[in-house]
Amino acid sequence: MAERKLIDARGTYCPGPLMELIAGIKLIEVGDEVEVLSSDKGSGHDIPEWVNKVGHEIVSIEDVDGVWHVVVKKAK
């Protein structure tokens, strides 16, 4: 069962949530997951763009009342 680390980046602006995700993903093991919460509107596009570019995996992405919940699996 994959471990999931929560990063609450609500209230910070671009590229804060992405940077917090990247710092967090460095600290977890391959196969584990990070869930980022972001109120930055661009995160819904920017985070998947980065994840796909560097080769990790989007597990889920959801807008809950204006907050993005993005779950990323570390793939390498």
Binding site: Y13, P15, M19, I22, K53, V54, G55
Partner: protein, 130 residues
């Protein structure tokens, strides 16, 4: 992953330009690009240890932005180095003018560089100027 070289010259001391330069550097670097930043003219003063890092706004956007929870430009430049292996070079000419030595600068900066060397590094890269 497709990568490219990104070279960023920063000469402004205004908040908006420093912020945008830092955003391009950090996002570019963590996306796997080879990022080189050259700090000269009015930008270098903020990277002297202990200096005031509150750059003045150039316009109304900067004034509004300074009251928001935006990651600081120095923090973003440091993230570019630590998370993305960017290189940030202080301009040796600007250091001479400011009478600053390498040990007076923030530790995440690389060695001082002259313009000739930076232009060689910037060959075949995207060039951004702020």
């Amino acid at each position: 992953m497709s990568t490219s070289k990104i070279s960023i010259t920063v000469v402004s001391g205004s908040l908006e330009r420093l912020q945008m330069a830092a955003m391009v550097a950090s996002v570019g670097a963590v996306s796997g690009n080879e990022v080189s930043v050259f700090l000269s003219m009015n930008s270098l003063q903020y990277f002297i240890k202990g200096s005031d890092s509150s750059a003045p706004a150039e316009g109304p956007f900067g004034e509004v932005m300074s009251g928001k929870n935006v990651p600081g430009f120095k923090s973003l430049f440091e993230s570019a180095v630590e998370l993305g292996d960017a290189k940030i070079f202080p301009c040796s000419m600007a250091m001479d003018i400011l009478e600053t030595e390498a040990e007076d600068l923030e530790p995440y900066l690389s060695e001082p560089l002259g313009l000739t060397k930076f232009l060689s590094l910037a060959a075949d890269s995207q060039i951004w100027t702020f």
